[in-house]
């Protein structure tokens, strides 16, 4: 599934003035590739990622996902079926176990319990977590393990566009390498479009293409 940015701009009203966070950005992201977006804090990379995730609409220009502008997508459906986001702080449901977290998007699609459990087990194994983790709550996992659960949930969701916002920001170098390896394999082996927003040059090095942002625009 491809994603194209066409002259995308985004402004929001700050306390004293209107801030233009993304400024006339265009790009075509191809399926099967892993992209890294780097830039300083406040350069607009997280805002751009949020626009691609359908959390809001661009104020100018448009984002085309699977040939259709995000303006024409049902945004709940877009987030459920097309675009999946991995966050720096893992964003797991604190009251659900590992398996329930992974199965969450499948339950939303009203998949049968048996099928959902099978798929959840499969993706859990893919991110190299053993069955012992199934009944644990996120609070009892390390940062790397939590991020792997988040990736497993994304895999279970089956979206072909995976956006990762500083996925390794809270992890040590070993866990960082593991997570980046998994994300890249999603692009290369599963044909997903993976876009990682990062500060970490080591992460960017692993990507197929690196895009740098400054003041809301590509450099």
């Amino acid at each position: 599934m491809s994603i194209s940015l066409k002259n995308v701009s985004y402004s929001y009203r700050g306390k004293y003035q209107t801030v233009r966070a993304v400024n006339d950005v265009s790009y075509d992201f191809e399926p099967g590739k892993c992209y890294a977006i780097i830039g300083k804090s406040g350069s607009g990379k997280t805002t751009l990622l949020s626009l691609m995730a359908g959390l809001d609409l661009p104020t100018e220009g448009e984002i085309i996902i699977d040939g259709k502008s995000t303006k024409n997508w049902n945004r709940n459906r877009l987030r459920r079926d097309a675009v999946s986001v991995i966050y720096q702080n893992y964003n797991l449901f604190p009251l659900l176990t590992v398996q329930e977290n992974i199965r969450y998007p499948l339950d939303l699609r009203r998949m049968s319990k048996k099928k959902a459990t099978e798929l959840a087990t499969k993706v859990r194994e893919r991110v190299e977590l053993s069955a012992n983790y199934d009944n644990r709550l996120p609070a009892h996992l390390s940062g790397g393990e939590q991020q792997r659960v988040a990736i497993a949930r994304t895999l279970a969701q089956g979206c072909k566009i995976i956006l990762a916002d500083e996925p390794t920001g809270n992890l040590d170098s070993t866990n960082t390498a593991n997570i980046v390896k998994i994300l890249c394999s999603l692009a290369h082996d599963d044909g997903c479009t993976v876009i990682i927003v990062t500060h970490d040059p080591a992460v960017a090095e692993q990507a197929d293409a690196v895009l740098q942002m400054k003041d809301g625009a590509w450099i």
Binding site: R77, N91, F93, L95, L96, L108, R153
Partner: protein, 410 residues
């Protein structure tokens, strides 16, 4: 969805228990308040009803008819006969209508030996009321109800001479017949007379009063025999309300037919219906001062309680609103996450609303059940719940590893 809700409740029991308890305490308070308001209202009605409201028709200055002409015949018909408007009202509102008939001044020689009155009850003869120091001694087998009959019985003063049976001769107006016999013309004077034997059924003490009291209907039928019944006057006409709370209807009726008694005797302008202006010759004295005082005191108390109940309700609703609001605020992250994985706003709303509703409903059910049971004071229960919550929270936090707590905060 229900499974998800149960799962969430099981895994975060404390906030749910808190909501549950809050709902229980609030429902107990509200039920209790509502219950006491209802009780107070019932007690108000009972108390008001236990105070009899009497009224009587008087002269405009509030004085009674005794010794005067008495109430006019047309007014009497209106109040005592079935076709009168006031009589219709009396059937609806009054438990008992008391009246006292007297022989008019111009026929006072009809019973020359003794003053004679017909009454429907002791209440109709105010001079016999215990509050004025009078006392009635009934003979065995008799009581006040005898005045509602048409029997030849009477109540006499304690020192009345004669036995327990007295004979009274009623004499009607004289009749003059002109007889012309040839050249001789004569005027024949004759009287209609009737003698009746009364059985004494009781005696009363009332200084200076020598009246013989018989049932009103008996008196009217005897006077009918001597052809002066139509001139009978009613010197007392009063009644008692069946339900004292109907007093407003009585006041309405008064505004339509009667004046209010005015001690100065001056006639205030007639404000009622023109058709009834003729009754404005009389005033209606409602003896309701006790009821009015009580009614005003109890209404004040009910008003204060209603006000308190509104305040408690607003506070309860505010507490409920704030709790719900804070609970949702504390779970902002969870809500955001649900939305980012594609859950619609409607789904998120129902998830949380049902979860909170489940807790609140359980609390309300328990609160309602307590209210039916209700053996312990509300305050005591509240104190116990408050200290239990406090103790549980303290116990949990004090048992935690200090280092773990510090790390958790970080």
């Amino acid at each position: 969805m229900i499974k998800k809700i149960i799962r969430r409740i099981k895994r975060q029991p404390l906030p749910c228990i808190a909501v549950c308890l809050l709902a229980a305490v609030l429902s107990v308070s509200l039920c209790h308040l509502q219950h006491s308001l209802e009780e107070e209202r019932l007690s108000f009605e009972q108390t008001c009803n236990s105070i009899p409201v009497h009224f009587k028709i008087t002269e405009l200055d509030g004085s009674k008819f005794e010794g005067k002409t008495g109430i006019a015949k047309w007014a009497m018909n209106e109040f005592l006969l079935n076709d009168g408007d006031f009589n219709k009202l009396s059937r609806e509102l009054f438990v008992r209508v008391d009246y006292k008939g007297v022989i008019p001044e111009e026929n006072k020689e009809a019973v020359p030996t003794t003053p004679f009155s017909g009454i429907t009850s002791i209440g109709a003869a105010e001079e016999l009321s215990p509050s004025r120091g009078s006392r009635v001694r009934w003979y065995e087998g008799y009581d006040e109800s005898i005045f509602a009959t048409k029997e030849l019985v009477c109540l006499v003063p304690e020192d009345f001479k004669g036995g327990d049976e007295i004979e009274v001769t009623f004499t009607g107006k004289d009749k003059l017949d002109l007889v012309i016999d040839g050249n001789k013309t004569e005027i024949n004077r004759s009287y209609v007379q009737h003698t009746a034997k009364f059985t004494v059924v009781g005696r009363y003490t009332d200084e200076g009063n020598e009246t013989v009291y018989c049932p009103y209907k008996t008196m009217v039928s005897l006077l009918d025999m001597i052809e002066i019944a139509k001139e009978t006057c009613v010197s007392y006409l009063g009644a008692t309300l069946t339900n004292s709370l109907d007093i407003d209807k009585l006041r309405e009726a008064r505004a339509k037919w009667f004046a209010e008694p005015n001690p100065t005797g001056e006639q205030t302008p007639w404000e009622g219906e023109e058709a009834y202006s003729k009754y404005y010759l009389y005033a209606l004295d409602i003896e309701d001062s006790l009821l009015r005082t009580l009614e005003s005191n109890m209404k004040n108390s009910i008003f204060l309680n209603k006000f308190a109940s509104v305040i408690v309700f607003i506070l309860s609703a505010g507490a409920g609103f704030l709790t719900g609001f804070l609970i949702i605020r504390s779970r902002k992250r969870e809500i955001t996450l649900m939305r980012t994985v594609g859950e619609s706003n409607r789904e998120v709303y129902f998830n949380f609303a049902l979860e909170q509703m489940a807790c609140a409903v359980v609390g309300i059910v328990f609160g309602g059940a307590y209210n039916l049971w209700d053996p312990i004071g509300q305050l005591l229960i509240f104190a116990v719940i408050y200290y239990t919550g406090l103790s549980v929270a303290l116990a949990i936090f004090l048992r935690k590893n200090l280092l773990a707590t510090i790390k958790e905060d970080e």
